[in-house]
Structures are given as structure tokens and as C-alpha cells.
């Protein structure tokens, strides 16, 4: 028990990798065994995360469950792990969505072994980013996460997968170039990559010259180097066009994780690195960031409304929703230290969690229908409600969560962001309301085009007969729906954890 408590984070982090390595020795033909093994293995980190959650003390300041292992001593970089309320909620999101994504992938029959292994590797990559308290480790995990996702899209994706996977990979890596340079600069300057130490020493540095330039110029450049890397990942308008392609071409479970967790890495980067490292720049450039956020919200909503492919429609909705996260971050940067900042940041973190649930759910539901119909074209559907009533009910529920219906989770976080941003970024908040309005339009368009209308004879009989969502698939949707409802009705259980960390940090 004691061992468990002192090694909890590293266990959660590396168990998926260990499981993936064990899978190497399982027979490739036994798909059933492989699926169940991967699924059960991914449940262990989830259970351990629940243990972590139970043992986490929201009232204690700073990071908890810290672990330090020597890693690259020549560079003074160590494997330093730890969680606070913000990262804890993201860890929960990751360990929850991974088993669900694996369960959703039970219908994959092509090369099951490498597929499942990649998912488990991916989980380690994502968790590493959320747990890292060392800048270099953060970067390493940041990049590691890309590789399995690249292969998942490239090998198991649909028609245009080569283009999409290349765009995803190159774009994200291109964005990370500046990040890498900035990270190295920090490491060289201070001889350490430890985040906690860097927070203090880097912020204490506020005058003089660095590398032949004034400190403020260096900081402004480094700020944008960080910001662009994360903005690509979030993605913020106008860096968003990789997303619809990657999401649309990825296999269902890939899209679930991509929308559910990978996008959060970008927002998490803003919260963990950009705001603490560059409080002054964040304040100074808050307007610019808010402009991009508002553009993402508005153009994301319009872009979504303009799609004819169901999956692209959902993909664009992520741009729209993640825009709110960035708006909250911009407001928190601008108003740092005030109640407005706390509310906005609480909203932003909760919105990350909420979007993780609803976007994963939406992509899953798109996948369910795609598997049966082999088309995602909205014009091919319509009038499916009488054929698949249970699926229809779940789709409407999930859509409403995505729309931000009060009583469900999205509303709470969007309300907090709007509330936090309104006093400091009034105009941008008002503009983003246009996006909120059109959120309704594209959600309703999706429902109308898929479910409503005269009963669709094409899918009603014969070889095209659409079958109802099955028990396994309901089992994937159920935990998401339950959490969506619980957070909508009673958000305090998760917000209390987030809130304390937010108040301590901002």
C-alpha cells in the first residue's frame, strides 16, 4: 500500500506501456484475447486514478504525489512527476477515455495487435505531459504522443489518410520547433529543467539583457514560441485546418482520443507553462489571444455549419468549443489575481474536461453510424430516428451536451468563461456569443440531417438495413452520458479540485 502511494503516478504513467510490451508476446491471431487484454490493461490506470483522486487533498497547496527519478543528469533533467488539481482532472479524463476508446475499437479487425499497442503507448504519452514537472520531460512526452497517433491515422484511417496524417504530424511538429528552442534556452540559462525551480528563477528575471537583447524582448519572443506551439495543438484559429482533416480521417477511437485528450494538451500547455512563465506577456497579449479565440469560436461554428460530412461537422465543433477554453485563458491572463481570472480559469479547465467528454461521445456516435452505413455524408441520412430510436436518443443527448444546454456539463463551463471574460474582454465575449448562437445551428443541423425527416427507406430494408446501437456501444456511451449529467447538475465535486489549484496559481 505504501509502495502504491509513493509510486502512484509512475504506475499510472507506465502501466500502459508495460501492457503494450506484454502484448508483443501475445499471439496476433487471437483478436478477442488482444482486445480484452488491452481493455483490461487500460482499466488499471483508471482505477489507480480513482485511488489518486481519493488520496488527493484539494486544500493542500502545490503539487502532490511528487516523484523524482534521475533521467538525463548531464542536462540536469530528471523525471519529475506530480499533479495538482488542474492536471489531476486531465489525468482522470485521459485514463477514463482510453478504456472507452479501446472498447469502442472492438470492431476493428485489421491488425488488432499493433492497433491496441499504439493506443496504450498513446496513453503514456498523453499522461506524461499532464504529469511532467520537468520542462524537458514535458517536451519529450509532448512529442511522443504524436507518433502513435500518426500511425493510427496513417494505417487505420479512411480514404484521405495519408494527407491528413502528414498534415497532422508536420503541422504539430512545426509548431513545436519554437517550443523546443525556447525550452532549450531556459535550460541553458538556468542549468535546470525543473518546472518549480524555473517558475521562480525565470520570473525573477525582469531586467537586463539576455543573448544580446533586452529581457522583455526575449520574453516576448519566447512567449510566442510557446504560444504558437500550443495554439496549433488546441487549435486556435487560424492554425486549425489540420484538425478537421485529422479527425475526419482518423479511426473512430482515434478521433475520440484526438478530440478528447490531445487537444487538451495544447490548452494545458497554456495553463501550465505560458501563464506561469509569462504573466506580463500574457497580460499584454491577452487581447490578441482573445481575438484568436473569438475567431475560433465564431469561424468554428460557421465552419461546422457549412459541412456536409457528419464527422467534419463534429470536428469543427471542437474548434468552436476549444475557442472558449482559450478565451478563458486569455481572460485569466489579463485579469490575473482577480476573481474574474479565477472564474474564467475554472471555466477553462472545466471546459477542457467537458469537451473531452462530449466530443469523444460525439465522435463515437458518428463512428457508430459510419460503421453501419459506410458513409458520413449528411445528405445520405435523414429519417433514421424510427429505425434506431435508442441511438437517436443518445445522439440527441450528446448533441445537447455539445450545444451547452443548461443542466448538462458544457453550460457550466461556458457560463463561467463568459462570466470571467465579460468584465475584462467585453467586446470579444460579445462577439463569441455569435459563435454560441451558431453552435445551436450546427448541432440542430446535425440532428435534423441524421435523425429527422420522413423515414428513410434506403436504410430500412435489405442489405442496407441499419441495426440499432448494440450493448457494447451503449456501454461506451453510458459513462460519458452519466458524467455529462452529473457535472451539469453538480459540478462542485470536480470544480473544488480545480478551483483550489487555480486560486493558488493565478
Amino acid at each position: 500500500m505504501d509502495y502504491l502511494n509513493t509510486h502512484l503516478l509512475s504506475l499510472i504513467l507506465f502501466l500502459p506501456t508495460v501492457a503494450a510490451l506484454i502484448m508483443l508476446f501475445l499471439p496476433s491471431g487471437e483478436t478477442k484475447l488482444l482486445r480484452w487484454f488491452a481493455f483490461s490493461a487500460s482499466l488499471i490506470p483508471f482505477v489507480l486514478t480513482l485511488v489518486l483522486w481519493a488520496g488527493f487533498d484539494p486544500n493542500a497547496a502545490g503539487f502532490q504525489f511528487e516523484e523524482v527519478y534521475p533521467w538525463y543528469e548531464a542536462l540536469h533533467s530528471s523525471l519529475h512527476l506530480g499533479v495538482d488539481g488542474i492536471s489531476l482532472s486531465m489525468v482522470l479524463l485521459t485514463t477514463l477515455l482510453t478504456p472507452l476508446a479501446i472498447l469502442a475499437s472492438f470492431s476493428v479487425t485489421d491488425r488488432v495487435k499493433p492497433y491496441m499497442m499504439l493506443f496504450l503507448f498513446l496513453e503514456t504519452g498523453m499522461l506524461g505531459v499532464f504529469m511532467a514537472l520537468d520542462l524537458l520531460i514535458f517536451f519529450v512526452f509532448w512529442e511522443i504522443g504524436l507518433v502513435p497517433m500518426y500511425f493510427l491515422i496513417n494505417q487505420w484511417g479512411s480514404a484521405n489518410r495519408n494527407y491528413a496524417s502528414l498534415k497532422f504530424m508536420i503541422y504539430t511538429m512545426g509548431g513545436s520547433l519554437g517550443l523546443l528552442l525556447a525550452v532549450q534556452m531556459l535550460g541553458v540559462l538556468f542549468g535546470t529543467y525543473d518546472l518549480l525551480e524555473l517558475y521562480q528563477r525565470w520570473n525573477a528575471l525582469d531586467s537586463g539583457t539576455l543573448l544580446g537583447m533586452s529581457v522583455s524582448t526575449v520574453k516576448a519572443i519566447a512567449f510566442w514560441a510557446f504560444a504558437i506551439a500550443f495554439a496549433v495543438k488546441v487549435p486556435v484559429w487560424p492554425f486549425h485546418t489540420w484538425l478537421p482533416d485529422a479527425h475526419t480521417e482518423a479511426p473512430t477511437a482515434g478521433s475520440m482520443i484526438l478530440a478528447g485528450v490531445l487537444l487538451k494538451l495544447g490548452a494545458y500547455g497554456f495553463i501550465r507553462l505560458v501563464l506561469p512563465f509569462y504573466p506580463n506577456e500574457a497580460k499584454y497579449f491577452a487581447g490578441a489571444l482573445a481575438f484568436l479565440a473569438a475567431a475560433a469560436i465564431v469561424f468554428g461554428a460557421f465552419g461546422s455549419f457549412g459541412q456536409t460530412d457528419f464527422k467534419r461537422l463534429v470536428a469543427y465543433s471542437s474548434v468552436n468549443h476549444m475557442g472558449f477554453v482559450v478565451l478563458g485563458i486569455a481572460a485569466a491572463g489579463l485579469a490575473a489575481g482577480t476573481a474574474d481570472a479565477h472564474i474564467a480559469m475554472n471555466g477553462a479547465v472545466l471546459q477542457m474536461f467537458n469537451h473531452g467528454l462530449s466530443a469523444a461521445g460525439m465522435f463515437f456516435l458518428v463512428g457508430v453510424i459510419y460503421e453501419r452505413a459506410h458513409t458520413r455524408n449528411l445528405d445520405d441520412f435523414g429519417g433514421l430516428f424510427p429505425l434506431v430510436p435508442v441511438y437517436g436518443g443518445i445522439l440527441i443527448f450528446m448533441s445537447m451536451a455539445s450545444l451547452g444546454l443548461p443542466g448538462l456539463n458544457g453550460f457550466v463551463s461556458e457560463f463561467m468563461i463568459v462570466r470571467g471574460a465579460y468584465p475584462v474582454l467585453t467586446v470579444y465575449t460579445a462577439i463569441s456569443m455569435l459563435g454560441l448562437l451558431f453552435t445551436g445551428a450546427y448541432i440542430l443541423k446535425g440532428i435534423m440531417k441524421v435523425l429527422h425527416g420522413p423515414m428513410n427507406e434506403h436504410w430500412a430494408h435489405g442489405e442496407h438495413k441499419l441495426t440499432e446501437i448494440n450493448a457494447r456501444e451503449i456501454l461506451v456511451a453510458l459513462p460519458l452520458m452519466a458524467l455529462i449529467l452529473v457535472i451539469g447538475v453538480w459540478p462542485a465535486w470536480i470544480l473544488e479540485v480545480i478551483n483550489k489549484a487555480v486560486v493558488a496559481l493565478f
Binding site: K167, Y171, P238, H240, T241, P244, F299, F302, G303, S304, F305, G306, Q307, A339, D340, H342, I343, N346, G383, F385, P386, P389, G393, I396, M400, L405, P406, G407, F411, V412, F415, M416, V418, R419, Y422, P423, T429, A430, M433, L434, L436, L437, F438, G440, A441, L444, M448, L451, H452, G453, P454, M455, W490, P491, A492, L495, E496, N499, V502, V503
Partner: protein, 719 residues
């Protein structure tokens, strides 16, 4: 149980019913409607207990039932949510509980419970009737049960939950939650028969139009919350806070902060209560089953919009000096009064029995909004309640008529006859007596038939208030609207019930079952008697016989109890004149009309609702679609942004090719690599001729080189 606990529990039974039906009982029709009606009954019971207890509290306005809990951590503090029953919400709770229960009961009959399943019915379409054989082997077509019977009860359960939540809320946030849940339910229920394209479109239109209001309302809530740090009514409506909000300028249009917040919140109401210019969704919402129309247009949703303004009244009037209307109040009064007359003109030219009522609803809501705009708080609440009763009655009555007509349609088998078109009716008073008498009561209440009906007392109070405080424009507008109201009401009654049947179907119409008529009777009781609780003190003869309980009770909600108005004959005579005159002319013009051609008021601009749908389509919807599909998706994302990204590929390629061709291939490979080899090769090649193998030549060569080197050394180094 303490009253506060009971208030917390009131909204829950319908919500529970929703989940029970959706998850467990949806296959069993009887169980589903029992659960739903039972839940509505429990909420009704709780509401009545709370209402009675509220009556027993002295100065309920100052000491309301209230209780709250921490809900959302916001930095160092919490956002609290809770319940509040003050006189206004108690009065509203009363009518909501009654109308909701009646609508639930009515739905059982309306959806043909107990009838056989239809021959060709399928989910998503209204039932088409079933063929049954009697004992003699004759085949009849009878009404068939709704295929999605259970689902309907689940949805209206959720709907009722939304409304109860809104009414008992002590803060704007949960009010907004209830508000939006109703928005969802209206979407689901208007589009209940989703396989009909018209219903599907109407549902989306309703949701989107009200959402326009909602996003402004959300901004208003955010503004209010950041300005005051609280969202509870009692926290905001302290003298100090209101004074500050009323004094601080908002920076736009010369409004105070209170004014701007009020307007933002009011835009939400414009959407929800279907006020001009966001009124367009409501008539289309008639696509839903009739109990839904009653639910949305009388009992719950549109009332919610007015209720929100009523709740925010202290904020709206924060900088009101008692005489000159503030900008925000003028806006509210203008929108209300304009909507009242605007919608009334359209109602005159409609032939669908439900659409008349739809426009009538918009118009009557305009009366309430206008009343609030001129500061007539009690009159607005009064009209809200009386209207809810008689409008629910009228909608349910019209549903009963349609049901009776459908019976006739199934009898004749002629499905081209629209059972909702009033010109296909006539003479139904004999076939459907209960429906007729109750509809007559409801119609007269709507028209404001003097003294007897509730509608008279509430409408009169609004007119009296407008007159008494000198708001002439509002007074005149509303008076004309009231005349039109009486006129189209009598037109409707005349065309539907009076005269002789104009079609075979109307001849075979049939009275509806007790589950439908009983609610009509209950509601008509309130449509008459509810007016008597608010007879002004100074009214001739009747005034003072019974105390003006309503004014005393509801007026107590406000910090300053509004004064009773001085009696004036002008508004009284006006409301008598317009009500009786309208009714008389309505009867006079339409008593002999037998077909739509004889109707002189089928004016295109009125029939086409002043072309607002077309204008909005052209101005907003088409551009928005173009902006999404073409501008954002094609031009910006695929064209510009991806275009720029796609430049990187060829550019990188070009740089790579350049490097390979001109540097790698040319300089490194050809020049340096191959070049050095070539030079060596060339040197070897050219030196070959001297490799002759003749010793003499070698010696001569050695000698010459020796001489040359020796000479060079001598001259260069030694000399």
C-alpha cells in the same frame, strides 16, 4: 416537512417521471401516462400546499420562503443556488400547477389512449386512424393511438420540470437553466412528429429564434453577475445595489448599468415570449401536438419570458423616478405595445384555428410586456395569470375541436379536408356542447367580456394603469389591439361553432372523451373566477365588495407597495367599448360567411404575416448559410489557410530540388566529387604520352627537370 424542503421537491416528480419513462416504462403506455400524470399531480399537490402556506404568511414579500446551497466554487467564494417563494412566485406557481396538471390529463385523451394502433402509423407521424370491424362485420375507421405515446409524456414531464424550476428559483442562473430546458423541450415537442418536414423545420426555427434571445440573456447574466457578485434576486434587489446599478453609466446609448442589463435580459424575453421582432417562431410552433401548444403558449414557456421580466422588475425600474420612463422601460413598453397590435392584425386574417390563437398569444404577451414597461407590475402579473388560464383553455378547446373534426374526417374518409381550417367547420356547438361552452368562456375572457370574465379585469387594469399614469401612446395602441382581439375571437367562435356545418366532416364531428373535456371545465372555472380576486377597490358598485386580494398580495413582492389607482371612467368605458364592440362586429361580419372567398379580411400582407419570414430568410438565413458554406469553409479554410499551408509543400520541395540540383548535383557531385576525379583522370590521360618506356627520354626529361628546378632554385632563392 418544512415549506422550504417542499419547495425544493416540487420540480422533481416530473423529472423523475421523465427518466422513469425513458429508461423503463416506455414500452407500456398505461404505465407511462400513469407515471407522468401522477408526477404532475404530486407537483400540483406540493404547489397547492406551498401556495396555501404562503397565503398564511403575513408580509410574505419581506419574509419569503427561501433556502439556498453552495453550488459552484468561484475562486474564494461560492455561487449559491436556491429556492424562493414570494407572493409573485406563489401566484405564478398556482396557475402553473393547475394548467400543467390539466394539460397532462388532457394529453391522455388527445393521444387517443385506449384506441387501437393504426394500420399504417409509424413513429414520427401523427396517427392516421385504424380500421376496426364491429360485431356485424362492418368496417369503421377510428382514431388510432399515438405511436410515440410514452415518449410524449416523458417530454412534457421534462417540460414541466423546467417550468417549475424556473418558478421556484431564487436566482437567475437556475431560472436560466429551467428556461433552456424548456427551450429544449419545445424543440423536441414542436418537432415531435419529426417525419413531417414542416414540424422539423418549425422545431429548429423555434430553438434558434429563442436562442438569439438566450445568448443576449447570457451576456446580461454575466454582466449582472460581475457587477454585483451575486445572481440571487434578493442579493441583487437591495436598495444599495439597485441604486449603484441605476447610477453607474454603462457607456452605450446613455444607459445606466441597470438599464443595459435589463435590456440584455429583456432580449431573452423577446425570444422566449415571441415578441416582435423575434415572434416568428411561435405560429410555426403550432406544428406540435395541441397539448404542447397549450403547454408552450399558455402554461409555461412564453409565460416564462414575461415572468423573467417580472422578476427583474426592480432592476428595470432601478433608475425610474416614477414619472418619466427610462430608456430601458421605453424599449420594453414600445416592444410590448407594438407587438400587441402587430400580432392582432395578423390574427384577424388566419384561418387555422390554432394559428389564430398563436397570434393572439403573441398579442396578449405584448399587453403584459407593455404593462411592465410602463411600470404596471401588478397588472402585468394579473394578466399573465388570467391569460394562462383562458389561453390554456382555448388551446385545449381548439385541440378538442380538431379532434372532433378528425373524427369526422375519418368517418367520411376524405383526407383532403383540413380539420384545422375554420372554414371547414361551423355549427359545432350542437355536436360538441362542452367544448363549445368552455371555448365560449375562454374566448370571452380573451376578448375581455365585461365583469364576468377574468380577462376583463386584468386587461382593464393594464389600460387603467396606462391611462392613469399618462402613457397615452401605450393606452391607445393597447385599446385598438383589444378591439382587434375581441373581433378575431368572435370571428373564430362564429366560424367554428355558430351557424350550420359547412362540410360533411363538420356534420360528423363528435364530442371528445372526458379526459379532454374535464380539463376544459376546470380551466373555464378559473377563466371566470380568477378575475374576481383582483377587482379594483374604486370600481363602481363592485369595488370593495370583495377586497382586492391580488393587488395586496402580489404588490407585496415589491419593496414599495404600489398604490391603488384612482378610478377613472375613461379606461373603463374604453375597455367596455372595445370588448363589446369587437365581439359584436366579429359576429356581425362573420355570421353569414360560408366560404373563405367571402371573407373580406384575407388581405395578403396580413395573411403572409407582414412577410417577416421571407424578409428574415433573405436578410439573415441565406447570408448565414452562404457565409458558412462558401466563405468560411471554401474560401477561408480550404482556400486561404490551407492554400497558405499547401505553399509550404511545393516551396520545401523547390528548396530541396534547388539544393539537390545546383548544390548537391552541380557543385558537390559534379564540381568537387566528379571534378576531382575528372581532373585526376584528365591529368593521367594527358600524362600518358610521356610514359614511353624509353630510357633515353626519361633521362632527358630528368635532366631537363633537374636543370629547370636547379635554375629556379638558383634564381629565386640564392640570387
Amino acid at each position: 416537512m418544512t415549506t422550504e424542503t417542499l419547495i425544493w421537491l416540487i420540480p422533481l416528480p416530473p423529472l423523475l417521471a421523465f427518466f422513469l419513462i425513458v429508461l423503463f416504462t416506455n414500452k407500456n403506455k398505461a404505465l407511462s401516462h400513469s407515471v407522468a400524470v401522477g408526477a404532475a399531480f404530486l407537483s400540483w399537490l406540493g404547489s397547492m400546499v406551498v401556495f396555501v402556506r404562503a397565503l398564511g404568511v403575513e408580509h410574505l414579500g419581506a419574509h419569503p420562503f427561501a433556502s439556498s446551497i453552495n453550488w459552484l466554487p468561484t475562486g474564494e467564494t461560492w455561487l449559491k443556488i436556491g429556492v424562493l417563494i414570494d407572493p409573485t412566485s406563489a401566484a405564478v406557481l398556482f396557475f402553473v400547477a393547475w394548467t400543467v396538471l390539466m394539460i397532462f390529463l388532457y394529453s391522455v385523451g388527445y393521444h387517443n389512449y385506449g384506441q387501437p394502433a393504426g394500420d399504417h402509423d409509424r413513429p414520427g407521424l401523427p396517427p392516421h386512424g385504424a380500421t376496426v370491424a364491429d360485431e356485424h362485420g362492418h368496417k369503421h375507421t377510428v382514431l388510432s393511438v399515438e405511436p410515440m405515446y410514452s415518449r410524449f409524456f416523458a417530454f412534457i414531464g421534462l417540460f414541466a420540470f423546467g417550468m417549475y424550476t424556473l418558478v421556484v428559483s431564487d436566482n437567475l442562473l437556475t431560472l436560466f437553466v429551467g428556461w433552456e430546458i424548456m427551450g429544449l423541450c419545445s424543440y423536441l415537442l414542436i418537432g415531435f412528429w419529426y417525419a413531417k418536414p414542416s414540424a422539423r423545420n418549425a422545431a429548429i426555427k423555434a430553438f434558434m429564434t429563442t436562442r438569439i434571445g438566450d445568448v443576449f440573456m447570457l451576456l446580461g447574466i454575466a454582466f449582472l453577475y460581475s457587477a454585483t457578485g451575486t445572481l440571487t434576486f434578493r442579493g441583487i434587489f437591495t436598495e444599495e445595489t439597485l441604486h449603484v446599478l441605476g447610477a453607474v453609466p454603462a457607456g452605450v446609448f446613455g444607459l445606466s448599468a441597470a438599464g443595459l442589463i435589463s435590456i440584455l435580459l429583456f432580449i431573452g424575453t423577446i425570444g422566449k415570449s415571441a415578441q416582435w421582432p423575434l415572434h416568428v417562431w411561435l405560429p410555426d410552433a403550432m406544428e406540435g401536438p395541441t397539448p404542447v401548444s397549450a403547454m408552450i403558449h399558455a402554461a409555461t414557456m412564453v409565460s416564462a419570458g414575461v415572468y423573467a421580466v417580472i422578476r427583474m422588475f426592480p432592476l428595470l425600474t432601478a433608475d425610474f423616478n416614477g414619472h418619466e420612463l427610462t430608456t430601458a422601460m421605453s424599449v420594453v413598453a414600445f416592444i410590448g405595445a407594438f407587438t400587441a397590435i402587430f400580432a392582432a392584425t395578423i390574427a384577424v386574417a388566419q384561418n387555422d384555428i390554432k394559428r389564430v390563437l398563436a397570434y393572439s398569444t403573441i398579442s396578449q404577451l405584448g399587453f403584459m410586456i407593455a404593462a411592465l414597461g410602463i411600470g404596471a407590475y401588478v397588472a402585468a402579473v394579473f394578466h399573465l395569470i388570467t391569460h394562462a388560464f383562458f389561453k390554456a383553455l382555448l388551446f385545449l378547446g381548439s385541440g378538442s375541436v380538431i379532434h372532433g373534426m378528425e373524427h369526422g374526417v375519418l368517418h367520411t374518409g376524405n383526407h383532403h379536408v383540413d380539420p384545422q381550417d375554420m372554414f371547414n367547420m361551423g355549427g359545432l356547438r350542437k355536436k360538441m356542447p362542452i367544448t363549445f361552452w368552455t371555448f365560449l368562456i375562454g374566448g370571452f375572457a380573451l376578448a375581455g367580456f365585461p365583469v364576468l370574465t377574468a380577462g376583463f379585469w386584468s386587461k382593464d387594469e393594464i389600460l387603467a394603469d396606462a391611462w392613469g399614469h399618462g402613457h397615452m401612446a401605450v393606452f391607445l395602441t393597447l385599446a385598438v389591439a383589444a378591439f382587434l382581439t375581441a373581433f378575431y375571437t368572435m370571428r373564430q367562435i362564429t366560424l367554428t361553432f355558430l351557424g350550420e356545418p359547412r362540410t360533411e366532416e363538420a356534420k360528423h364531428a363528435h364530442e371528445t372523451p372526458w379526459t379532454m373535456t374535464a380539463p376544459l371545465v376546470v380551466l373555464s372555472f378559473f377563466a371566470v373566477t380568477y378575475g374576481w380576486v383582483g377587482i379594483p377597490e374604486h370600481f363602481p358598485i363592485l369595488g370593495g365588495l370583495v377586497p382586492n386580494w391580488f393587488h395586496e398580495f402580489v404588490g407585496g413582492t415589491l419593496a414599495e407597495h404600489p398604490e391603488a389607482l384612482e378610478f377613472s371612467a375613461v379606461p373603463l368605458l374604453t375597455s367596455l367599448g372595445v370588448a363589446l364592440g369587437g365581439l359584436f362586429f366579429g359576429w356581425l361580419v362573420y355570421r353569414n360567411v360560408t366560404s373563405v372567398e367571402q371573407d373580406k379580411l384575407q388581405i395578403p400582407v396580413l395573411k403572409n404575416k407582414w412577410y417577416f419570414d421571407e424578409a428574415y430568410d433573405f436578410l439573415f438565413i441565406k447570408p448565414a448559410v452562404w457565409f458558412s458554406e462558401v466563405f468560411v469553409s471554401k474560401w477561408m479554410d480550404k482556400g486561404l489557410i490551407d492554400g497558405i499551408l499547401h505553399v509550404f509543400g511545393p516551396v520545401t520541395d523547390a528548396v530541396g530540388s534547388f539544393i539537390r540540383r545546383w548544390i548537391d548535383l552541380l557543385i558537390i557531385n559534379q564540381t568537387i566529387g566528379d571534378g576531382s576525379a575528372n581532373v585526376t583522370y584528365w591529368a593521367g590521360e594527358n600524362l600518358r604520352p610521356i610514359q614511353t618506356g624509353r630510357i633515353q627520354q626519361y633521362l632527358i626529361l630528368s635532366l631537363s627537370i633537374l636543370l629547370l628546378v636547379g635554375g629556379l632554385v638558383y634564381f629565386l632563392l640564392l640570387a
